[in-house]
Subunit: 526 residues, 2 copies
């Protein structure tokens, strides 16, 4: 049952008087539960508990933290139909997507549980001392990763499970040993409370310290601002708009003690389609891309919002085919009336810029909060000189740019902002003629895809999800996959430390049998 | 010969009209060479060249970059006596220190050359695809580190070689594939120009692109501000004061595209001395610490500026011994009259706070720019409530705090700012009684030392030099050792990329024979 309250550590609390409801975009009406926004005192209490919890939680054995993460996964599964129904009611997304995203969330929790139970992630590095070295004896040094402190996690509107309450940021932070305070997304407060109840249950079952997790309801931006400003918060994870992410980054940077913010923000995910590929398989590409652009009603951060080609018949044919194919797809419901409204507005702005040609944008009457997919065409020169066209249109929209030649194509890529992904569509080794463009693309993105689509972010160690600003605020880290744990840890060295006082991962006889780098050589588990 | 000009890429340039000289603190007079500060146009030119150089430099083979780094080391050695004499004339530091620091600088360059030639540093991670996976085929993903772009490096006043022109930041950035623009330290512009000439010679000899390195003279703060604001600069390395580092951090954070700043700043390096150790070996500890506090005239970032003990006879005896021993040491010359002046001022402020007792601070006449070492004593309660006493006094100064008990000791540590190091002096397993204090220390520092001194930063993979703010602006990275390369790189993933187009480090047959993580398992070089 939904209480509408905040979890301040293990305790349900609702002392405030700001209340709100979530919205069912399919039924076009508010959902029943009423949520109470967290007060300044509740936020402070959550931060104080998190700080207290940090001193014990950060010192727990790998096995204990792993148990906690696995138990969260189990408790989320126990929510069963209740969770799936609430997810659908608050997002307008279909049940299949809800089940798939739950699977991804569980998978992430379990992969971090496995990572932590194994222990290699601390990247233990040992350099033995040498008392006989001259002129100075060489000390014994042993380095490992430790957690940085309580982390504030902001849930994403477009992933109510996988990038929210117990999503990737939370799983990585808990795995590292950092307590987490979630600023629940106002559009899916019910889904958030359900998942939070699962985390709290797991924390209690596995004996975690009170304060290891809190969940704060918020209707607007105030709760988040206060949370990021709190001196006990030591890092921030965010997935959402550039405006929102940058605002949090600015608050964090202006603190007396600045803290790292990892915000995964906007991206238009340029796709370079070379002429031979277009000539060879315009139909197939049009079908594939119509599907990719409209997947999840275009509400993925890896949505292909920009298609770059060389002007000519092949590009023209493909463009018309894409327009045709995309109109065959049933319009989808967007997450919330606000998101739908913003989509229609940004689409209108992009479609009416000087020199643009609208290839697809049905005006038929459709259901409330459903989005008309659209394809717009523009010459390279116009695109290059109009920054408005470089902005993300969040929804089932793509802009096709017809470049004069490879030089203009390269220039356009050099002038794009940072991106999560860049895709190359190329046949018969034609890519060799576009080296400068491909090199430029590599400098602008976090992931390069060959003859595929950018949507679909595989969760695996080799995945990088992030990229140069504004794709993310710190391109040096990924938000997806086990290496995302590095956002929330820092190295510490122990010099001439007695073996019996060292953490197990650094002890001379390697009691946990983890992979370590010893005197410059990797020693694999025995 | 010193020209006093800037290196804008490979070209000497001095179009400005702001001129300055460096100062010999031993002879208490200005050095002869006259330097010309870089103009806005020269700064812009250096940035434009760096951006151009980046596209080729970032793509060079590991072998080529390694050659460049080794050649820099050789060219620095070729400067021979000229460099050593200039170093001493501009710093007041003795010849032995100059030679030692040169050795450290050469060692760093060579260790990065070795790292790069080997190739493992890109942390290649490969997850093979599975076309038969259901419901969706699994893509092939391959991840590696690539450089982030041109880096601005700010030379440190207290390490004219090892943390300056071709010091650790520069070596790490060049190794990663990032061009470097150095903002030369005004106190050792001559040393800077000599080392810059060696880097440029090496760049020319090994065929590096023009713009891979520039060296900008600056008298004040304007050159640095402009450099960090320049849109082509993608990261900043700084070693110096909190005020200076924070100013650069703020500029970088407020850019349209914020960039990472790694600033290694102030630290007072708390030392916890437990009673048994003090009772057992007050004399030895007093001698050791008198030496550590005055090493390099106290101008090390790891200088032990704060000694924390439990009040009682043992601490009292040690304190008096330390005061006695420190006065036996010959006063040393400081780097510059400004630094000496700041030392005397901050020492005076610290010594005259309510409740402090000055144990050592000779008033004898000494040579110009030489520093009187000082030891001050204060009760824990007073220290706890007076933040002025928590500030760094840069020079041969240490504050001894007598705590009531382990609770107060822990509370004091919890209230300290972030620190580079923390040291424990402990005998006969007495440390078990101070667990809360040791745990608190671990949360505040980047390196823990047992029964040693914090001064002396070994350059090795297991070293961590950095720590929670304000020890550094990003505790997630070290400034010393090969892992410092991670400050200047970001991951990129290649999805379903054709093998022949992949960088060598990611090709299926591993042509470079590097260590990689493949499908979750480490594959050691064959």
């Amino acid at each position: 049952m939904i209480t509408g309250k905040n979890y301040i550590g293990n305790t349900l609390s609702a002392t405030g008087n700001v209340r709100y409801q979530t919205f069912n975009p399919i039924e076009n009406k508010a959902n029943d539960p009423v949520f109470t926004e967290a007060t300044a005192a509740e936020i402070d209490r959550a931060a104080v508990l998190a700080r207290q919890a940090f001193s014990t939680f950060s010192k727990l054995s790998n096995r204990r933290r792993s148990e906690f993460l696995n138990c969260i996964a189990d408790e989320i599964m126990s929510l069963d139909e209740t969770l799936i129904k609430m997810y659908c009611a608050e997002s307008g997304l279909p049940e299949g997507r809800a089940i798939g995203e739950r699977g991804r969330t569980i998978g992430q929790l379990k992969s971090f549980a496995a990572l932590v139970s194994q222990g290699d992630w601390v990247e233990a590095t040992i350099d033995h001392g040498d008392p006989n070295r001259r002129p100075l004896a060489k000390p014994d040094l042993r380095k490992m990763y430790i957690p940085i402190g309580p982390i504030a996690v902001f849930g994403a509107s477009n992933f109510p499970l996988a990038y929210s309450t117990a999503g990737g940021d939370t799983a990585a932070a808990l795995a590292a040993g950092c307590p987490v305070i979630v600023k629940s997304h106002p559009m899916h407060a019910g889904t958030g409370e359900l998942v939070a109840s699962a985390v709290i249950k797991a924390a209690e079952k596995t004996g975690m310290p009170n304060g290891v997790f809190s969940n704060l309801n918020s209707r607007g931006i105030e709760v988040g601002k206060q949370l990021v400003s709190h001196e006990f918060i030591k890092g921030v994870g965010f997935t959402g708009s550039i405006k929102g992410g940058r605002a949090l980054y600015d608050i964090a940077a202006q603190r007396k003690e600045p803290i790292p913010v990892f915000a995964e923000m906007g991206s238009i995910n340029p796709v370079l389609m070379f002429p031979k590929a277009l000539a060879n398989r315009a139909n197939e590409l049009a079908k594939t891309y119509a599907h990719s652009i409209t997947l999840g009603t275009g509400q993925f951060c890896t949505n292909p919002g920009l298609i770059l080609g060389i002007k000519g018949e092949a590009l023209q044919t493909f463009s018309n085919q894409l327009a045709h194919e995309i109109l065959q797809i049933e319009p989808g419901c967007m997450l919330h009336p606000n998101i739908h409204h913003a989509y229609e507005q940004l689409k209108e702005i992009a479609s009416t810029q000087r020199g643009t040609v609208v290839l697809a944008n049905s005006k038929d009457q459709i259901l409330a909060n459903h989005a008309h997919q659209a394809v717009v065409f523009v010459p390279g020169e116009i695109f290059l000189n109009n920054p408005t066209l470089h902005q993300e249109v969040f929804g089932p929209f793509s802009l096709i740019v017809a470049c004069e030649d490879v030089m203009q194509l390269t220039q356009i890529i050099d002038n794009l902002e940072g991106q999560l992904t860049g895709t190359i569509i190329s046949d018969d080794n034609e890519i060799v003629h576009y080296k400068s463009a491909v090199d430029a693309l590599e400098r602008r993105v976090g992931r390069l895809i060959f003859n595929g689509v950018p949507t679909g972010v595989e969760v695996c160690p080799a995945m990088n999800h992030g990229g140069p600003y504004p794709a993310s605020t710190d391109s040096r880290f990924t938000a997806v996959g086990i290496h995302s744990i590095r956002r929330w840890v820092r190295p510490i060295s122990f010099q001439d430390w007695p073996d019996e006082l060292l953490p197990d991962v650094l002890k001379e006889n390697n009691p946990l049998g983890i992979i370590r780098t010893v005197d410059g050589r990797i020693e694999v588990k025995h």
